[in-house]
């Protein structure tokens, strides 16, 4: 038996023509399969919505508060673990220097002072060289190269800022 138009009529929401109604009624009286389809359809449509137990909203508020507290605890614990790890790592890396400094403090202090003086001299030389280059370079490099560099730098900064904004967005409740 061909059920096709009858199944479609039963599932469609559009009202049927009088002739279609007559045909469908006749078909349902003889076809057990389509009759079941119509019955189950009607039965499901007549079932009301299930309701949650009372105070659902209050229970949600309690859960939300608990979730926020758990999140805060997790963040605090994460920060603590990170801080301890960083301090531990720095202490591990600095341990040979600390040991030497404790063994011969005067020599270590002299070495550190000497390093600082060298560092300062190098920094000054670098600044001086940079200033000379800054004065001389514009004469050698054409203007359009500067424009391209400036444009590229702006674009790169923009992409960087937008990426930071996109990936560091903190979800609500976090």
């Amino acid at each position: 038996m061909d059920h096709r138009p009858f199944e479609d009529w039963l599932s469609n929401e559009e009202p049927l023509t009088p002739q279609q109604k007559r045909d469908l009624t006749a078909h349902l009286q003889t076809c057990r399969s389509c009759s079941s389809l119509a019955e189950v359809d009607l039965a499901f449509r007549s079932v009301r919505q299930a309701e949650p137990a009372r105070e659902f909203v209050n229970r949600f508020q309690v859960r939300l508060a608990a979730r926020k507290q758990a999140l805060r605890r997790r963040n605090a614990l994460g920060f603590l673990v990170l801080a301890v790890s960083v301090v531990g790592l720095l202490a591990g890396l600095a341990w040979p220097f600390i040991k030497t400094a404790v063994a011969s403090p005067v020599d270590t202090l002299a070495a550190w002072l000497s390093s600082l003086v060298n560092l300062w001299a190098s920094f000054q030389a670098l600044i001086h060289a940079g200033l000379v280059l800054f004065r001389v370079a514009p004469g050698f490099v054409p203007a359009y190269i500067w424009a391209v560099l400036l444009f590229g730098l702006t674009g790169w900064s923009l992409v960087w800022v937008l990426s930071l904004m996109k990936y560091t967005r903190i979800p609500q409740g976090a």
């Binding site: 019955e39 009607l42 039965a43 299930a50």
Partner: protein, 198 residues
């Protein structure tokens, strides 16, 4: 601008009271979907609560061009489908009614026998629903309890419209087959002419 949109905007700016108003407005449809999907009041309560928590956490991602109800029901449906896939088998107790209370027919109702029969039929229908595959079940629930169109169901379940049509057709046929098998007595009492087709 509707009240709902105002609440959404306020909630997106971190106003918890505004989100509570949304929970109040949607608790019934979300719970109903979870209950029809999972079959147990306790599991439905948990799933509905989780749905609202997920919605709260992802509210900034909600696209205001879409219907909020569809977005919320989509979260609920996917949450329930995941739960069902994880546990695979659903045990449904027919000793409990839709509010999680043990069923006692109301002796003071106008016709206790009719009330009890209706209750029994609702439970049987609920049992039939549990026989469907999770995604088919979600499509059927959306269709019958929310009058959702095929397009809306497709959006909610992230399916194509032809896939929804096919799933609904398959699910309705499966339900009809089960109905035919399990409800010969009710069949005798019921006339099929109350279908929307008439």
């Amino acid at each position: 601008m509707t009240d709902e949109m105002v609440w959404i905007l306020q909630a997106q700016q971190g106003d918890d009271d505004a989100f509570t108003l949304l929970v109040e407005a949607y608790q019934k449809p979300v719970y109903n979907l979870c209950y029809r999907m999972l079959g147990e009041p306790e599991a439905a309560e948990d799933a509905a609560q989780d749905t609202f928590l997920k919605a709260y956490q992802n509210l900034t991602r909600y696209d205001r061009e879409r219907s909020f109800a569809t977005w919320l029901l989509s979260i609920a449906a996917h949450h329930c489908i995941d739960k069902l896939r994880r546990r695979r088998f659903v045990s449904f107790s027919i000793d409990e009614d839709e509010e999680g209370q043990t069923e006692i027919p109301d002796r003071f109702a106008p016709d206790p026998e009719t009330e009890a029969a209706k209750k029994q039929e609702r439970e049987r229908l609920h049992g039939l629903l549990q026989a469907l595959e999770p995604v088919d079940r979600a499509a059927v629930v959306m269709r019958y309890w929310y009058d959702a169109s095929e397009v809306e169901i497709a959006q909610t379940l992230k399916l194509t419209v032809p896939a929804v049509k096919s799933r609904l057709h398959r699910a309705r046929r499966a339900l009809a087959a089960l109905w035919e098998k399990e409800m010969p007595r009710i069949r005798a009492e019921r006339k099929p002419y109350g279908s929307p087709a008439f």
